[in-house]
Amino acid sequence: MLIFEHSRPGRRNYSQSPTTPAEKQAIPQNLLRKSPVLLPEVSEMDAVRHYTRLSQKNFSIDTEFYPLGSCTMKYNPRACNALAMLPQFLARHPLAPEDTGQGFLACMYELQEILKDVTGMAGVSLTPMAGAQGELIGVMMIRAYHEARGDKKRTEIIVPDAAHGTNPATAVMCGYKVVEITTDKEGNVDMDALKAAVGPQTAGLMLTNPSTLGVFEKNISEMSRIVHEAGGLLYYDGANLNAVLGKVKPGDMGFDVIHINLHKTFSTPHGGGGPGAAPVGVAERLLPYLPIPMVAHEKGVYRWLTEEDVPQTIGRLSAHMGNAGVLLRAYIYVRLLGAEGMNRISQYATLNANYLMAELRKAGFEIAYPTRRASHEFIVTLKEIKERTGVTAMNLAKRLLDKGYHAPTTYFPILIPECLLIEPAETESKQTLDAFVTAMKEILQEIEDQPDMVKSAPHNMPLRKLDDVRAARELDLAWKPQ
């Protein structure tokens, strides 16, 4: 039932708006709204009940194992939420004077410093509000760098075919042509393809390492050399940073610019699809182009850096300074972890992924890159199963829901047919992984014994399989009163 269906004309919450209608008004008649606003007229209790019950229809980290590859669904500490929502932090206006926000700014400054260390970069700006915006800002800086040098012939960004879709989409938003390069049999970037693609027209290479295939690009130093020698820059998509945190710094691998998905590696909540936050870090040569605002610490006082301080900045990319409350949560998280805690993240995320990969292989699943170590994630392919039984990766995914597990990422990376990208994250216990393996084994058996049942999953959820095609064909994007 939609909230609108609980509505009755004239019902309202008297506690939640001024008791008496406002006395004064000075707005010309022609600017005043005449049409009614379609908001529900429900009691406070009905709203609370409706949304509490809706919430219960979600799978989430707080209720289920959620091994969604490339998304790093780890525990979001409750302390981060509680402390970022202290009344003073919530009440502070973004344009309030700096001296009324020294506590908040101290957190932001320290977060910048910590992220510099973690990434091996010379400078960090916290403003990007999501991974995709971090990418956009990163590539904008690459472009600004070439432009500042008068290097106008660089029109291409190289992207591996396994990359996140945001990579090519971002390059295009920055006015670049996208050159896709292939992957070799071992899951590495095809070095010959890279060499062939690189040239004076190359603005840069966007790369995730470990890659979205769940393996570490062993040739990264060589790749870095090739791109740099051609005058291009290296962009690090930080989506998989969780796998190497404290092990390898992107700066040490030769990357010039990076975005860090705080909602992945630094455990800020995914919130049903945002808000995220994706600070960008840069090597020395890109420092002048970092987006503002950033926080400086001078003579014991924290202040915002503006256009005056960073005259070559690519500018402002948000109305204020990005997703401040998300940054606060990440700050609290990194302070809880400390250096040792960060090192352990990559260790245990990697242990969990390799263990799960080993167990699923033993259970009879086909691993996409069986000769490689898993990073913090790995790929299972149902190609053979699909051919033999008609059961798809999506069927298996839906059947997992029935068993109380969120499905792994399906059909990404697109170059592996019928794939499941599985990322358990470091906060899951061996017992949970073992229970998941048991469920996967059960489904493997079900595929043999009752493939039609698997194909028509889910069966134990409040709804059965939803019709995506109809949704797109008969667009219904807003409720209309009957």
């Binding site: 406002a22 010309p28 005449k34 949304y51 938003m173 302070r335």
Partner: protein, 453 residues
């Protein structure tokens, strides 16, 4: 090892299954010379007790003020229910609803949100949110250019939020899009439709119309909309969603209505929180829906014909279309939209209208009060919603300092944004300000200004 559950026994058993001697061995594909990850500048870990104390101390240091700053972020009362429900684990710690059957909570809520925003803006359809108001404007400009096809020129009045204009320029400049600034009338604080014609000589993709504008002044939206439509251009409305409970929605501007409405969703239940996270909203006419970036939720049915909700129109998106996507955006600001939807449900149409009306009435009250102080007068003659620019008879930074010393954040100095507007204060009132607050502001400011008589 905060948050890591592994016991020593677990680790041994897991390594045995993998066939590795140590966790370190699992990293053996990383070239040894790259393993330099010594985090020397990251401080040691803290317990939750320690960080709790630190954060409480920092919050205490920041304190509370009686706030009259607006300028794009507005202090409204937020019902306690909003965030108590929004931060429930099932909303807080879930991902983008890729598996629809396991995400009906988020999906239905987003569908309800889209319905509310479409109605509030008077448009046909809404997406499930963008990052913030400023980037929503930039996305709208890109959308208009895609739709218009022949022009890459966007007209933006100087009365639009200065930071929004900066963000717009920063984002569109790499796509050869020209942002042309339209002047405004310094007396009324508005764009004068009659002065637009020079800018319409050349083809343009869209005209941006802010309502209320950055000075809090109401623009002549009907005339502006019709003018742009006559030039075969699109109209992008940038609106405060709270004001729409009182003001004509963009969908009803002029003869045909604006084509795209965007803005900052923060006034709808999102705390000020030093600037974020907020959310941008975007609504448009039906014919533009396939040009709209961001997530969109559609209603459909399951195998038993029961109604349900899914992510739809994904063919526009980057994970399918890659370099041909409408935008690189993939996340929205889901949790903020969750809060906004609950907020709008709790307020209802009459509640929202009263909040808007009281915010407006309080401004009239405050301006009237402050204008009794010698030397204080309104900077613009146009009608206002809940924000107005005031000329002060002394150096504004000094005055703001003096107000702050008495616990009042008096507003925003406009000089930094408009050099011509020296000693001009942008003040804002919402429904949170009581008669006592307004009196206090008047009294304190009156005393401070005595020395500048």
């Amino acid at each position: 090892m905060p948050f890591i559950p592994h016991t020593e026994e677990d680790v041994e058993e897991m390594l045995a299954s993998i066939g590795a001697a140590s966790i370190e061995e699992l990293f053996d594909e990383i070239p040894p010379d790259l393993k330099t990850g010594n985090l020397s500048r990251v401080p040691p870990g803290m317990t939750e007790m320690e960080i709790t104390r630190l954060m409480h101390e920092r919050a205490q240091a920041d304190g509370f003020y009686l706030n009259f700053i607006g300028a794009g972020a507005y202090e409204h009362h937020i019902p306690a229910a909003v965030w108590q429900i929004t931060t429930r684990g099932e909303f807080y710690s879930s991902y983008t609803p890729y598996q629809a059957e396991a995400s009906q909570g988020t999906l239905q809520l987003l569908y309800e949100y889209q319905t509310m925003m479409a109605s509030l803006t008077g448009m046909d359809v809404s997406n499930a949110s963008l990052y913030d108001g400023a980037t929503a404007l930039a996305e709208a400009a890109l959308m208009a250019v895609r739709q218009h096809k022949t022009s890459r020129r966007i007209l933006v009045p100087g009365t639009a939020h200065p930071t929004y204009r900066k963000v717009l320029r920063a984002i569109v400049r790499n796509q050869d899009i020209e942002v042309v600034e339209i002047p405004f009338d310094p007396e009324s604080g508005q764009v004068i439709p009659e002065q637009l014609d020079p800018f319409g000589q050349e083809e343009f993709a869209a005209l941006v119309v802010p309502q209320p504008n950055f000075f809090g002044v109401l623009e002549q939206v009907d005339t502006l909309t019709d003018w742009a439509h006559k030039k075969n251009s699109l109209v992008i409305a940038v609106v405060n969603p709270m004001s729409l409970a009182m003001l004509t929605p963009p969908g009803e501007w002029g003869t045909k209505g604006a084509d795209i409405a965007v803005g900052e969703g923060q006034p709808l239940g999102i705390p000020l929180s030093s600037g974020g996270p907020y959310f941008g909203f975007m609504a448009c006419k039906q014919e533009l829906v396939r040009q709209m970036p961001g997530r969109i939720i559609g209603k459909t049915v399951d195998l038993d014909n029961k109604p349900g909700f899914v992510l739809t129109l994904q063919a526009r998106e980057q994970h399918i279309r890659r370099s041909k996507a409408t935008s690189n955006i993939c996340t929205n600001q889901g949790l903020m939209v969750t809060a906004a939807t609950i907020y709008m449900s709790l307020l209802g149409p009459e509640g929202l209208r009263r909040v808007a009306a009281q915010s407006h009435a309080n401004l009239l009250q405050l301006v009237e009060k402050l204008e009794t102080i010698p030397g204080v007068k309104r900077a613009h003659s146009g009608f206002c919603f809940h924000e107005a620019a005031l000329k002060l008879p002394g150096p504004i930074d000094e005055i703001l300092q003096a107000l702050k010393a008495q616990g009042i954040l008096g507003g925003l100095s406009l000089q930094d944004y408009y050099p011509a507007l020296s000693n001009t204060l942008l003040v804002c009132t919402t429904e949170t300000k009581t008669p006592v607050d307004l009196d206090k502001f008047g009294e304190v400011l009156g005393k401070i200004l005595k020395k500048y008589k």
